[in-house]
């Protein structure tokens, strides 16, 4: 289906889900388990779940304009960061409407309009967040969060 999707490392978990709200349950469960496995504690686990939720909500709302039968691929992958700390890499791939990544900006928080805070939340929570437009169409979001050294020391 998609030759731009990177080959899966053995410890990565790939989910192929439809763009319906019910799918978020499975994704949240995966995020929680994988984040704890990598070494995150609360509140980081909750924040990562929130960031991934927002990423998927943006896909459903913007890339697929609310359609609930479109494909989304999500990858969760343990990774290593600076100082050999653990981390969690999350890829979110859709095959809907592509936009110029440079136009994806967090909302000005002084702007009182509701909504549109997803990108702000993602960039606040995650250490890295990068949008791209794969050649095969759609959008891909790559997010990474690293375990803080004091968290790692606590175990």
């Amino acid at each position: 289906m998609d030759d731009s999707w990177p080959e899966r490392p053995s410890d990565a978990v790939d989910l192929s889900i439809p763009s319906e709200p019910r799918s978020l349950t499975v994704v949240r469960a995966a995020v929680e388990r994988m984040a704890k496995m990598v070494g995150f504690g609360e509140p980081d686990v909750g924040q990562i779940i929130l960031a991934v939720d927002e990423a998927l909500a943006n896909v459903i709302k913007h890339s697929y304009r609310g359609a609930t039968d479109q494909p989304i691929r999500v990858r969760f992958q343990p990774t290593k960061g600076p100082n050999d700390c653990g981390g969690l890499l999350v890829l979110v791939r859709d095959y809907g409407k592509a936009v110029d990544p440079a136009t994806i900006q967090p909302r000005n928080l002084n702007d009182v309009r509701p909504g549109g805070l997803g990108v702000h939340i993602i960039r606040s929570v995650m250490d890295e967040a990068e949008y791209s437009c794969p050649d095969s169409g759609g959008m891909q979001l790559r997010m990474v969060k690293y375990v803080r050294s004091e968290q790692a020391a606590r175990g």
């Binding site: 899966r8 978990v13 994988m34």
Partner: protein, 92 residues
């Protein structure tokens, strides 16, 4: 848990773990041999939730190591079934 769709298998596996369904343990052990790594990931997570152990199973291990861990799980299931039978016989 035997649906041809991995997504449906995962939904069932997650539900079993969250609802504390001990009767699902043998089915979850079956899922440790699933071809889909996401199904295996959720299966061992639910098994750990239900039993408190992973028996060294890791969803990303090479097939040979996974098979050895699955044998440990099946031995444990057999022992558990035998203990339950003895207990039932003693009570009768």
């Amino acid at each position: 848990m035997n649906s041809p769709d991995p997504g449906e298998r995962i939904q069932a596996i997650v539900a079993a773990g969250e609802q504390g369904r001990q009767e699902a343990v043998p089915l979850l052990v079956d899922r440790l041999e699933d071809e889909d790594e996401a199904v295996r990931f959720f299966a061992i997570e639910s098994l750990e939730k239900l039993t408190g152990t992973s028996k060294g199973y890791r969803y990303y291990d090479p097939p040979g190591l996974r098979a050895r861990a699955v044998r440990r799980w099946r031995s444990w299931l057999q022992a558990r079934a035998g203990a339950a039978t003895s207990q039932a016989a003693q009570m009768n």
